[in-house]
Amino acid sequence: MALSLRQYFMKQSSSAPLAVFRIAFGLMLCISILRFWLNNWIEELYIKPHIFFSYYGFDWIKPIGTSTYLLFFICGLSALLVAMGWKYRISIITLFLSFTYIELMDKTTYLNHYYFVSLTCLVMIFLPANVCFSADAWKNREILADKVPAWTVDILKLLLATVYIYAGLAKLNSDWLLNAMPLKFWLPTKNDLPVIGPLLSTAWIPYVFSWFGAAYDLTIVFFLSYRKTRLFAYVTVIVFHGLTALLFQIGMFPYVMIVATLIFFSADFHQKLINKIGKMLKLGHSFTAPNKSFNYTPATNRVILTIFSVLIVVQLLVPFRYLLYPGELFWTEEGYRFSWRVMLMEKNGYATFYVHDSASDKKVIVNNYEFLTPLQEKMMSTQTDMILQYAHFLKNHYVALGFKNPKVFADVFVTLNGRKNAQFIDPHVDLATQEDSFKHKNWILPFNDTIKGF
C-alpha cells in the first residue's frame, strides 16, 4: 500500500488536461464577471446596500464603494490572463484573492458554486497549469512540458467529486426523495415551457427528477472516470446541467460544470483538442508536443502535498459539521453553508423587528426596507446569523437616534418546503444581547417536524 501510494505520487501524466481546464475555467469566470457587470449586479449587490453581512471572523473584509468596479475589473482581467496562461502564478493568485474578497463582502449572495470557484482557484495556485499551451510557455520555452505529476490533474477531479457526491448525499433525505420537495414546487412554475412544459405539472415528474438528480450526483464521477461509460456520462452531464439551466435561475453554474467535467476525459482527448487549436493558431508542433516532463523540487512537492492533504481532509469533514449542532439542519442552517447543499430547500421568511427603548418603555416596528435590499431582507429572514447581525445593526442605529439601551426583538415566521409557516426564533429574546459564535443559538425555536436522512 505504502509503496503503491509512493508509486502513485511518482506517476506522470499528460499536462494537456490541466491546460484545457485552465483555459475553460478562466474563460468561464471571465464571462461570469462580465455577465455580473452587464446585469448591473455590482451596483445592486455591492454598492447600493446600506449594510453588508460579513462572515463570522471576516468582518475586516469591507465593501469598497465604487472601487468595487475596479475589483471586478481586476478579477475579470486576471481570469482572462489565467485562461491565456500569461504571468500565470500572479494571475491565479490575483484571481483567487479578488474573487474571494468579492464573495466575502456579503453573505447575502453566498452560492455554493462561488465557493467552488474560490476553492478551485486556491488549488490552481499550486498547479503547473501553465507548462502546456500557455503564454508563459510560449515566451519561455524552458518551462514547456507535456508531462506533469498525475496527482496535479487528479486533485481537480477529486474536488469535483466531493462537490457532486456531497451534493448527492445531501439529497438523501425524506423531503427530497419521499415528498419530491422542493422540486414539486419549482417544476410546475415552468409549465408554460414548450414541449416539456405540460410534463412539469404532472404529479410524478418531480419524483423522477428528484431520484434521478440524487443518483446523478452520487454516481456521475464514477461513470465519468470509467472509459467505457465516459461518453454516455458526459452526455448525461450536458442534459442534466442543461435542464437545470433551463428550469432554474442558477446563472453560470451549469456551464461551469459542463466544461469542468471535461477534466475526466483522457489525456489523448485533451491533447487532440490542444493540437487542433494549436494548428488553427499556427503555433507549431514543438509547442503543442514538447516531449518534456515537469517536476516539482522534492521540497515544493512535499509542501504542496501537505497543503492539499489538509485541504482534502477539511473538505471531507466540513459538510458533516452540522452533526455537532442540535436540531434540524434545514431549519437552523447551522452548518449549512460550504457543504454543497444545493437546491434543497424552498425556504421563505418574514421577519418583523421591534426596538424597545429601555428608558421610556416605548417600542417601534422597524421598516426593514429602510436598511436592507429586498434580497438581503429575504436572505436575512431565514438565516439566524444574519438575523443576529441585523439586530445588532439596529441596536447601534437606534442608539444613535437617541434610544436608551434599546432591546431588539423579532417575530420571524418561516416556511420550509411547503410546510405551513411557523415561528422561527424566540420572540422574547433580546437579540441585542446575543453574540454570534460557532455555538448553537438556543433562541432558535424547534422545528415541529422531522426530515430524515443526511
Binding site: 426523495l177 418574514y350 422531522t450
Partner: protein
Amino acid sequence: MVCLIMLSIYACSKKDNSEPVDLNPSFDRKALLTNLADNIIIPSYAGFKIKLDLMVSKCDAFTAAPTVTSLADFRTAWVDAYKEWQKIEMIDVGPSQAQTIRSFFNIYPTNVEAINANIANGTINFDLPVTYSQQGFPALDYLINGLAGSDADIVAFYTTASDAAKRIAYLKKLTAQMNVIFNKVYTPWTTGYRDEFIRKSGTDASSSLAVLLNGYILNYERYVRSGKIGIPSGIMGSTLITPSPEKIEAYYKKDLSKDLALIAQQAVLDFYRGKAFNSSTTGPSIKSYFAALNTKDNNGKLLADVLDEQFVKALAKLNDLSPYFMQQIQTDRTKMTITFDEMQLAVRYMKLDMTSAMGIVITYTDNDGD
C-alpha cells in the same frame, strides 16, 4: 449502499410529514394574466385617465380664473382623481415599473419648503428624484388645501399675492407633468405591452406574474400598511416621539385620509379576487391560482381563503377609524395599531404562503440562486 440508505429512509419515515401539496396542473396562467390585463389593469388606467383629464381641465379653469368656485371645482376633481389613483398604485409592472409612476404621483409628506422655493425660483425639473416629494397629488394637496385656512385666503395666493403668477405657473407644470408621466404608462399598455404581459406567463423572476406580485405585495406592505397607517401613527419608524401626523396621506385635506386608505385596501382585495373594474364579475385571479395550488392552514382551510378573510378584516378595522387619521391618532392610537396588525398578518400570508406556493421569488434583484 445508496439503495440501502434510501430504503432505510423510506422505512423509518412517517407517512406525510408535510402539508400535502397537490399542484393543479390545469391552471392556465395566460388566462389569469389576460383577465388581469383586460378586465382590471387597463380599465383601471382608463378610469384614472378620465379623472386625471378632468382634474387637469379643472386646474386650467382655476388657473385661468382663480375664484372660490373654480377652486372648489378643482378640489373636487383632485379628490376624485386621488381616489381613483388608489386603484392603480399597486400596478407596478412593465411601463408602470419602468416609469416608477408612484414616485411622480404620490410621495408624501410633500416638501413644502422646496415647493415654495421652486415657486420663487420659477424653475423646476420634475424628472429629478429629489423633486419626487415636490409634485403629484401631495404637492397639489398643499397648494389647494394647505396654503391658508379659508378658500378665499387660498384664492388670494393665486390672485393678489405678489408671486401669484409664479404659483399659477407651478400648478400648471405640476398637472402637466402628471399627465405626461401617466400617458407614458398608459399608452404602452394599450399599444403592445398588454401582449407582452400575457406572453411572459412563467413564474421566473422576470415573468409578468412575479414582477406584478412583487409590486403588489410591496405596495401593500410599504405604501398601504406602513405608508398610510404604520408610519403616521408612529407604530413604525425611527423616532421615539411617536405619532408623525404630518406623514398622513392628504394631510392638508384632513378628512380624506381614511377614504384613501379604504379605497386602496378595497382595490387590493378586488385585484386579489380578479374582480373586473367595471362590473362585479370575477375571472381567473391571484386568489383562484393560489386556491388551485391547494395549500391549507392547520385547520384544513385553504390559505387562499384565509388571505381573503384577512383583507376583509383589515377593511373592517379601517372602517372603524375616524375619517381624519390625525384625530384617530390623537384620541385612540390603539385602533390604528389594531388595523396595522391585521394588515401585517395579510403581508405575512402573502410574503410567505402565497409566494412560496406559487414558486415566486420575493426580490427585485434578478440574481442567481443555487
